[in-house]
Every structure is written in structure tokens, then in C-alpha cells.
Homo-oligomer: 361 residues x 2
Amino acid sequence: SANYKVAVLPGDGIGPEVMAEALKVLDKVQAEFGFSLELSQHDVGGIAIDNHGTPLPAATLAGCEAADAVLFGSVGGPKWENLPPNEQPERGALLPLRGHFKLFCNMRPARIYQGLEGFSPLRADISARGFDIVCMRELTGGIYFGLPKGREGTGANEKAFDTEVYHRFEIERIARLAFEAARGRRGIVTSVDKANVLQASILWREVVIEVAKDYPDVTLNHIYIDNATMQLIKDPSQFDVMLCSNLFGDIISDEMAMITGSMGLLPSVSLNDKGFGLYEPAGGSAPDIAGQGIANPIAQILSAALMLRYSFKQEEAARAIERAVSETLAAGYFSGDLYSADAAHPVQTTAQMGEQIAARI
Amino acid sequence: SANYKVAVLPGDGIGPEVMAEALKVLDKVQAEFGFSLELSQHDVGGIAIDNHGTPLPAATLAGCEAADAVLFGSVGGPKWENLPPNEQPERGALLPLRGHFKLFCNMRPARIYQGLEGFSPLRADISARGFDIVCMRELTGGIYFGLPKGREGTGANEKAFDTEVYHRFEIERIARLAFEAARGRRGIVTSVDKANVLQASILWREVVIEVAKDYPDVTLNHIYIDNATMQLIKDPSQFDVMLCSNLFGDIISDEMAMITGSMGLLPSVSLNDKGFGLYEPAGGSAPDIAGQGIANPIAQILSAALMLRYSFKQEEAARAIERAVSETLAAGYFSGDLYSADAAHPVQTTAQMGEQIAARI
Ligand SMILES: CC(C)[C@H](C(=O)O)[C@@H](O)C(=O)O
Ligand SMILES: CC(C)[C@H](C(=O)O)[C@@H](O)C(=O)O
């Protein structure tokens, strides 16, 4: 039977706690669906700085290379906040991993779960309409990696610079994936750009329009980034797939996550063109609640489900996990972040949430 | 007595309608406060394309040069949407005006007016807390104007690029204005950057920290742009002055305007180091309601008040306008955008709003 190698990188803060629950659930599905997972754990982020002096040690990178997919927890915390930006856990681990494995396609779904509308920071009549959006973010290009990038001169004229650059092939491949995703959903791609100011956005828009010709069944809209941040608040239900450059996707995916009001439920995946992927929850390491066993493990568990779907093509197993999560929530089991007085059961710990979900596989 | 020259650029859509009301109010204050305004009207934006073939005709620019300040309406509309980006009304008029007059400092206040909380798209308990924020946006630098900017190559490797660049002196002068503004307010500057990715942001943060030393009475916080778009939705009341680069300010100021729910009330000013300024409403040309006499003229009227304050140092007259606006709203006079069934008076036209406000000067 199939055997998959997974590099497990729990990281910092709540990372190790929620990862333990994801592994519990994965353990259950591999028995059930007849495949096996070979796990190897590695330090990443702050704990890697503490143990090895660098947020992405060579051994961790080698462990990821030897694997078929990476299951990532979260990194960062106050302890490492005053390091130079380049050496900080988030930047020093995530950007090199994305670059090294050429993970150009980042997908972050965000939706309001039925019954949880009240947690959304949007006005009741807006959140009641609900929404279900996927952000397709280009992840290895643009101003994150563009050259030249640097600093020059002294005194008042000292300057620092970054280059926003996109090649036709980079835009084309992410656009194609956005249109494919829209086909399996509501059939709308909204491309986010700033074509009234940026040359890179003008090319972006041109290429997206060309790719759209191969998908006559999908509706293509264009929106400026400034307007997009407004429309997401005013009426998120108008969006289906949002196609974004690296920087605009960073902004849009976080705003999208926030307006759900339930960030603890949101997984994400970063893929390369070979199906190798890095799977991580949308939220951060939440150092304020770390170590207390109260964090919501669902985003990590759903990230594991996406890993089964996209990297291992185990669609049934992925669905089983997603179903177990939905059933657990529908049965009224909530961790503190989503608990309200009218819930059927008392507030659940991280481990209890994991058990409820595993039991429903 | 003092005489000020104002270049009036009504532009497109609702621009001419709301401008007429601003002029009505200005007419009233000049008599009352003993100064005189010399107005010259010029085409800008779409109407300038129609009449002169370009969104910013030489005669309009000359008219602005001969003036002490520019009162700007709004530009753009569906008629000109399919022109190449460079020739479109918004881009082709606003960017050259900003560049030509070196209007490096853009200030956009956004707050929830008492009694209008219900229009905010935020959840009732969040909008009930209210907020009052000023976005200080650097307006002549960064990726908008940075060089090189262009396009190269062919085929799959064709690329387009823009340069995000900031000089120390550019950051310093806008930072200083942000700290000055905070002194007259709640004493908090939140600097928005992406210092975990951009070199320009690292320099930005360094310079802001240096400038802060001259303002020990002001609290300085730093926030990443992605987190800023989230926090604005979760709890806008935590912010006072938000200090932003050109691109991040474009995004933040629009998001801020949207969460007030009353964009028709928001003025803005763009200043150079000589006090010359361009004053315009935060909203757009709203072509969907243009020509019907129903647009809210308050943002345009408050923009005129800011002109009196910042370019002409007529603080009393500026306050008189602001007071008249507040009193008109408090008395229950609303245009359609802010009207609700429990208002004291029937829905007001653009002209009626202007009259109510002028009558209260
Ligand atoms: C940590 C940071 C470099 C990263 C990014 O900007 O991409 C993060 O915000 C994200 O979205 O994954
Ligand atoms: C029209 C456009 C070029 C402009 C900008 O991006 O600055 C507008 O969005 C604004 O904020 O004034």
C-alpha cells in the first residue's frame, strides 16, 4: 500500500500543541484508508534559533527534501522579535522554504461556517449572507524576491529599494490554477492588481485576460487592491476566487481570514509544480495562549487534510477529515476561541477537540 | 483684506454637483470672516479628455500654478474606463498633479460620526466603540514614482517591473508631520510597513524610530501591512495616526474610509512643503448616481474647510464650516447615502444639504 513521507515542523507557540492533534487525526485515517505515513520531526523558527542558531537549519531543510510534503505548525514569538528582520523566525524560515521548493502557488480558503456568523467582525446583515472565498496568491515572485533589493548612499539621500517584477510565465501558471479552481467552485475569478499605477500589474492583467480565453465558462473580473480591501468588508459574498500577486495576496488573504472571525479554522497550502507542498494553518503562533492546551487545532487538522488531497491524492481520506471537523462543530464542541454560552458542550481543550474529531473518522 | 486664489477642478460624475455646494458655503464664509476668494474653474479628468484630449490639459496645470490652492472634485467614469491606464482620468490627472506640485503629504481623516454607527459595515459592538483615525500617506515616492519602471523581453520571459524606493529625507519629512499631528490628537503614531520583507520598509522603520526621539510625548507602534488590514477591522479604536508609504497608504486610507460607512463625509488634503495643497473628497466620482442631484456634498464641503485651515490659515472659518456640518447632521438632515427611516427630516438633495450647511455659517 502507498507510503508517504511527511516532514513535520511544529515550530513555536501553539504549533506543537495543535500539531499533536493533527497527528492524532492522521494516525486514524491511515489505518482507515489503507496508506501509511512516515513522519520525521524537525525544528523550525524560534526553537531552531534556540537549538541550532538559525530558523531553518540545514538538517530541517534536508528533512523536507527527503519528504513528500511538509506539515508546518507556526513560528515566531516575543522572544525572537528583536532579532534583525532577516533572522527572525517567520521571515527566516518561511521565505527560504518557499523559495527553495519553488512553492509558487499559495491557496488560502476563507469562509463563514454556518452558526459561527456571530464571530465575524462584520455587521450582522453582511456576515449573515456568508461567503466562501479562495485566495490564490503567487508566492515566489514579485517584490518579495525581485532584484535589485538593497540599500545605498548616506545621509539624507540614503535610499533603500525593492523590485516588484513579474514574468509572463509566472503570471500565467498561477492564473491557470485560479481558473481551474474557479471551475470547481462558483466560476468567478477576481484578479487583484494596481494596473493604474504599476507596470507589473499591467502585464499581470494582460496575461490573466489571455489565460481567461481558455476558460470561457469562468467569469473574470478585475479589481484594484485599494478597492478590493473595501469590497471585502462591504460585501465579501461577491467573491469566489481572488487571484493575487505575492504582496497583494499577503494583504488580501489576511483580511479575508479576519472577516471570517474564525481564523482557527483556516488551513492553507503552498504548492510547487510537482505537487510537493507545505501545509500550514492561517493563524500565527499565538504566543499569548501557547502552552495552555486551549488553542484550536482545527486549522492544523484541516491543513493535514489538504496535504492528503493535494500532495497524496487521497481525496477520500481528506473528505473524511473535513466531515469529522464539520460534525464536531455541528455537535457543539468548541475550543475557547469559538465558544459561546449557548454551545451544547463546555469549552473544549486542544486535546479534547482532537479526540472528538479523531473519533468521528 | 486677504485674497486667496483657488483653482476649482470639479471633474466628472458627482464632482460638479458637490462642488457647487462647496462654493456656496465658501461664498458664505468669505463674507463672514473678512477674506476673499478668487476662483478659476478648469476641466480635469474625463471631461478634459472629451474637451481637450488629455486628462490634465496644460491650461488646467497653469491655472493650478497661478492659484494658492486646488479644490478638486472627482474624476473618472465608465466612458473612459477602456483607455490605456496612463491616459485614464484618475491616473492621468492625479499622479501628475501630485508629482508636479510635490504634494508629498496626504492626510485622510476617518471617523465614525455619532449617530451614524449603524452605517458602518463593522459589527455593532465594534462600531459602537467608534474610532477617529488620520492616515498620513507619503504621496510622491515609493513604488508609484520609483525608477526603473518598465517592461522588457518577449515570450514567456517577458517581464514588467516597478521600483519601491525611499530616501531617508522622504521618510523623515512625512514622519515628522505624523508626529506633529499626533501631538494635537491622542498621541499615538502607528507606522505601517512590511519590514519583514522589504528593504525600503527596514529603512522606513529606522528613520521613523529616529524621528520619534524628538517626540518623547508621542507613543510609536509598528505594524505590518497585512496585520494592519486585520486590526483595522477587529478594533479600529486602537489607532490614532497611521503613518504609511504611498502604496500602503492607498490601501489603508481606503479601508479606513470604508469602515466608517459614511464615505460621503470624508475630506482629504495633499500638501507640499510650502503649504500649497490639493483638497478632495475621499469618495470617487460615483457615476451611478451622477446628474441626479442626490450625492452627499459634505466631503467636498469639508475639503474646502481643510483648504481654509491648511493653505490659508483661516482656522476660524474652517471651524465654522465644520460646526455647520455637524449641526446639520445633528438636526437630522441627511442625503440618501446616510438617510434612515428615523431621521427627523425627509431625505435631502445635494442642493438642500448645501443650503442647510450654508445657512448655519
Ligand atoms: C512572515 C511573512 C514573511 C509572511 C509573508 O509576508 O508572506 C506571512 O505574512 C504570510 O503571509 O505567510
Ligand atoms: C487613482 C489612483 C492612481 C489613486 C492612487 O492610487 O493614489 C487613488 O486610488 C487614490 O488613492 O487617490
